[in-house]
Symmetry: C2
């Protein structure tokens, strides 16, 4: 499946915190919108990904979109049946990726001709949802067949259910939660933010005239990946092996384990395409996530929801315990709502939401097929 990146622009996106801003973001679509315009599914991407959810840009594109196993003809999100939309987030991490279009602190402020820097307002997950809503309406869609996403993509899917309850029929949140659970999830986000801010090159976010804080950023990305990737995944690759070209860490002070080099290299590679401010803003948006905020708390928010929910927590996910999904489902079902919890036991913790996503085919297909939940 070959795909293209499109551009969406709005002169005015109202933000949760403070003022509105003009926004330009990229998006992709897979499949076709039917004449009744009721077959659209919005896919929200997780923290470090972007709106390239499926397909390849060309024949020599080395890797497909991040949920390619689930999106396409005959797949769980069947593009023979559904019109699938995926949007680059506000303050997307991969600011310097050539196929990502985002708006955030690294964007040129039209009023000054220079990057916004710290003048850009803090964004929230709900702001992303408002942006997606504008795009959907521009495409002529009044109601979504479903909104789905893993991790912070699931945050947004759940925000859709409370922010536009009449505009979404089904919501799927994988390895996600209705709020960033205290304290591990909040602490991981904050630790990443602190690592960037601690780099003297960060200069309070005003580094666009100087060397960017790549060291702090690489440290933050290393931190997030080592603390949230599954042990199994890393253990399979590196176990406690000594890094190549290094003495054993036990026999030499400079000695390093392979996982350190391996994960650091991945973090450094990723850091090249990431803007430090965008990381900080996105991490803060993640820790601020709470569908109860502005809705008089989770219990009231749960009653606002009209969509059918499929919650797929992953066993061993340190960020989002299975219990959090059960709590939300209980709150919804107590009030006559329709929420189902189907835990995924794929062995890779949080990372299973992407790495083992083929396992989702069966529950997703079933959830998207049935007209009424039993």
């Amino acid at each position: 499946m070959f795909v293209q990146k499109h551009i969406f622009h709005t002169p005015k996106l109202d933000l949760d915190i403070a003022k509105s801003v003009p926004v330009t973001v990229g998006y992709e679509t897979y499949g076709h919108l039917n004449p009744t315009r009721d077959n659209a599914i919005l896919i929200c991407h997780p923290f470090s990904a972007n709106g390239h959810a499926a397909g390849r840009y060309s024949a020599d594109d080395p890797s497909p979109g991040w949920w390619d196993s689930l999106i396409g003809p005959g797949k769980a999100f069947d593009t023979d049946r559904f019109f699938v939309i995926a949007v680059d987030s506000l303050c997307n991490l991969s600011t310097h990726h050539p196929m990502v279009v985002t708006t955030g602190p690294a964007t040129i402020n039209p009023e000054t001709g220079r990057p916004y820097g710290a003048d850009f307002p803090q964004i929230t997950m709900r702001d992303n949802v408002r942006l997606q809503h504008q795009l959907i309406r521009t495409l002529g869609i009044e109601r979504l067949a479903a909104v789905a996403g893993p991790g912070t993509g699931g945050f947004q899917a759940l925000e859709w259910a409370v922010t536009y309850p009449d505009m979404v029929a089904r919501v799927i949140a994988v390895a996600s939660a209705h709020q960033a659970p205290p304290v591990f999830s909040l602490a991981v986000c904050q630790a990443g933010i602190d690592a960037v801010i601690a780099d003297p090159a960060y200069k309070g976010g005003e580094y666009y005239d100087s060397e960017p804080p790549v060291e702090g950023l690489a440290r933050a990305l290393f931190l997030l990946s080592t603390l949230t990737y599954s042990d199994a995944w890393i253990a399979d690759r590196w176990e406690r092996k000594t890094a190549k070209g290094s003495m054993h860490p036990r026999s030499d002070r400079e000695g390093r384990f392979a996982f350190q080099d391996g994960m650091e290299q991945l973090a450094r590679e990723k850091a090249r395409e990431v803007d430090a401010n965008h990381f900080v803003y996105s991490a803060r948006a993640a820790l601020l996530h709470d569908i109860g905020y502005g809705n008089r708390g989770i219990e009231v928010a749960a009653q606002i929801i009209k969509a059918k929910l499929l919650l797929v927590p992953v066993t061993g996910d340190l960020l989002f315990p299975v219990e959090a999904s059960r709590q939300l489902a209980d709150l919804i079902n107590q009030h006559g709502g329709r929420a189902e919890v189907v835990p995924l036991e794929a062995g890779n913790g949080h990372a299973s939401a992407l790495q083992d996503c083929l396992w989702l085919t069966e529950p997703l297909t079933r959830f998207l097929r049935c007209e009424e939940m039993h």
Copy 2:
């Protein structure tokens, strides 16, 4: 129970990595050594604690030692029956605590008259065990009735079983493991080290003539506590409440959650008594822990062990999964050894090893009572 700190000095402690050093450390004893000198139990302290395991120093001492609920007359480690010893570790974190005596980079190098700084050799858990061994022998003890400890204290207890297999009858490791499990445990240690090293004031460990890197150190301690303390413990205290005197984080960019202020304050208080190098050395010693190292791997190491083992992993402990204890027990029992796994389900993850230690009374009492394991 009132207790005293004693001093042990050895002119020469052989270290795992490189040279030997003269060492002075503090230790405490509770109860009395019997005439046959076979009732001694060594208690090894966890990462951020010290050799003050039980009792109070005076009537107005506000808090007792860290395992006081378990050590004393009629308690699990019954001082009417056992002679209990607890030793301050090498490179103990609480270098500046008035009742802690330790040797490490902050110690004056007798050859130069200045702190060792980065000249101090990296230490290992096994070095602590060798030091404890020297002390034990000086006290006239040929064989220990037991060695026990939580967290990195359990690391040392397990090291005892492979380093001096004929000198220890029973080993108890709580919320611990035979090696720092890849990758979460290793990553948490490394993240803490990186946070200290990233502070420009650290200067590669040579900061004794200038302001110490308190910012980086506080960040490291914050990181370790937020990532390893139980969610339940923190959630009970702070949930997602807004910090006192702060706007809600969602409505104000400077807004903070209460857990951030709370955990940061705890980290800053702790940082006052911690030497940054000692933190870095201890964290590296933790991540280097591996009873298989130098013993041709875990499988061979498991066969060296002659002691009876009681492994008490804690459910929900992010650092040391229950599965790791089961793996070690299986390896030992396959070769005719005697290892028992009794998981603790106290609800506070890793922190339960101290916070909920009263729950250990029953299994410890039983384990220390029976002459033969059934």
